[in-house]
């Protein structure tokens, strides 16, 4: 079994305009940099992107926004991107703001084969508008639907040719549940190894969920908020 493709351009070659994509990452941490660059090169547009954040003006999903390739963002927090805000206020871009845990769990539901889940977040707020409400044990819950994505694009630390993945530190974030949720899942990794080189005890995403994998290049791994303390 060999799921390896040559590079990001080959991995995304059949992504079409108008499709729905999941993109892993939290802020700029653990984002699929190579595939985002390839999507910009390919020039597909009218994309619906499910991603916790929308990058910054000149990095991450911000690069797709700059080229006006995104029709709709489904995110929990979009505060670091001025171009995003401009497109949103001018009506060029649709946005669906979803509580972060709800976003993660709607991805998880898709990966676990569950059509919907009952979640507490947002009950009694405008997030509940139009949603079915049911009371369990005295609390109101909202019926939240599993996401339906054509492609999931994730970034892992290490992966093997069979698609088994290991993530690093907090770069894990949304990547595992998105990897499980895509109809087709593309994984870009920093280090691609042979089957057997990764300890099966430590696999975060089993290869059954991953359709294509490649070793990425030139990771910038930009830090959004560099914060340090002084040496005493």
């Amino acid at each position: 079994m060999n799921k390896v493709v040559a590079n990001a351009d080959e991995a995304i070659k059949d992504i079409q305009s108008g499709m729905t994509l999941m993109l892993g990452g939290f802020g700029l941490c653990g984002i699929p940099e190579n595939c985002i660059a390839a999507l910009v090169r390919k020039g597909v547009n009218n994309l619906t992107c499910i991603s916790n954040n929308a990058g910054v003006d000149d990095f991450g999903i911000g690069l797709l926004l700059q080229e006006k390739q995104v029709k709709k963002m489904i995110s929990s927090y979009v505060g670091e991107n001025a171009e995003f805000e401009r497109q949103l206020l001018s009506g060029e871009l649709e946005v669906d703001l979803v509580p972060q845990g709800t976003l993660a769990t709607r991805c998880m539901a898709a990966g676990y084969g569950m059509p919907a889940v009952w979640l507490l977040a947002g009950a009694g707020t405008e997030v509940a508008d139009g949603k079915e409400v049911r009371n369990f044990n005295g609390k109101d819950y909202l019926l939240e639907m599993a996401f339906d994505a054509d492609f999931a694009i994730v970034k892992a630390w290490k992966g093997d040719r069979m698609g088994n993945l290991i993530y690093k530190e907090t770069a894990r974030n949304f990547n595992p549940m998105m990897a499980m949720a895509g109809k087709i899942t593309i994984a870009e990794v920093e280090e691609l190894v042979e089957p057997g080189e990764l300890d099966p005890n430590n696999i975060h995403t089993p290869g059954i969920y991953v359709h294509r994998i490649f070793q990425g290049t030139d990771y910038e791994k930009r830090i959004e908020q560099k914060t340090v303390r002084k040496r005493l």
Partner: protein
């Protein structure tokens, strides 16, 4: 004198108990980590996937794969654990986190909180705030008592879109400490030099004063 941000954080830190798992929000709540009392061991949860958050790294030791929910570079402490976002909010939803501290634009005397949206002006999103306030058992709000125009942010009801309903348990503002009770805000402590009259004048929501109300000490 009203409290400064550091003092608000310092006062909230006294609510931490040994063995607590704690989620600290962005802004003043983050500062609470600097004032954890001697002998109190808590584990800090960062909702992007970490239990056991440590201090900021030294210059040159930042790791782009290791950040907190405010996207700041951080470190881990011995005994830390990484996990994915679904599990992170799973543990929050299941009530495993003992205390949540977060900021607010407005709170209401029934425990409602608004902190994510100003219609027409700010549309950044709720992040994890709605999940946290919906599920956490113990939610302390760190906030300024009034806005820049001097108007109360402790209200009979919130005017901004809600983040959560009847969920907060305590407010620590620059003027004092307030429990949320059946009768609205109950002032249990006031900042050094701040008078009860000033607190009454600057609190628009229902307010009672605890019989044993006392001045905060630092």
């Amino acid at each position: 004198m009203a409290l400064n941000k550091e003092q608000i954080a310092q006062r909230i830190a006294r609510e931490l108990k040994d063995g607590y798992y704690v989620n600290l929000g962005i802004g003043i709540p983050t500062l609470v980590a600097n004032y954890i009392p001697e002998g109190v061991n808590v584990v800090l949860q960062s909702e992007n996937g970490l239990l056991g958050m440590g201090p900021f790294p030294f210059e040159g030791e930042e790791d782009p794969d290791l950040i907190n929910a405010g996207k700041q570079t951080i470190t881990t402490v011995p005994g830390s654990a990484f996990f994915d976002s679904a599990m992170s909010f799973g543990m929050i939803r299941a009530g495993k986190v003992d205390l949540t501290v977060l900021g607010a634009m407005e709170v209401a005397d029934n425990g409602d909180i608004a902190n994510w949206k100003i219609p027409g002006k700010m549309v950044k999103g709720m992040g994890g705030a709605m999940d946290l306030v919906a599920a956490a058992k113990n939610i302390i709000v760190a906030m300024q008592h009034t806005n820049k125009a001097g108007e109360s942010k402790l209200l009979p009801q919130c005017t901004l879109p809600l983040t959560g309903v009847r969920c907060i348990t305590k407010v620590v503002s620059d003027l004092g400490v307030f429990d949320i009770t059946e009768d609205g805000f109950c002032c249990i402590e006031y900042a050094p030099g701040v008078t009860i009259e000033e607190i009454k004048a600057k609190t628009a929501g229902r307010l009672t004063i605890a019989d044993d109300v006392k001045e905060m000490t630092f």
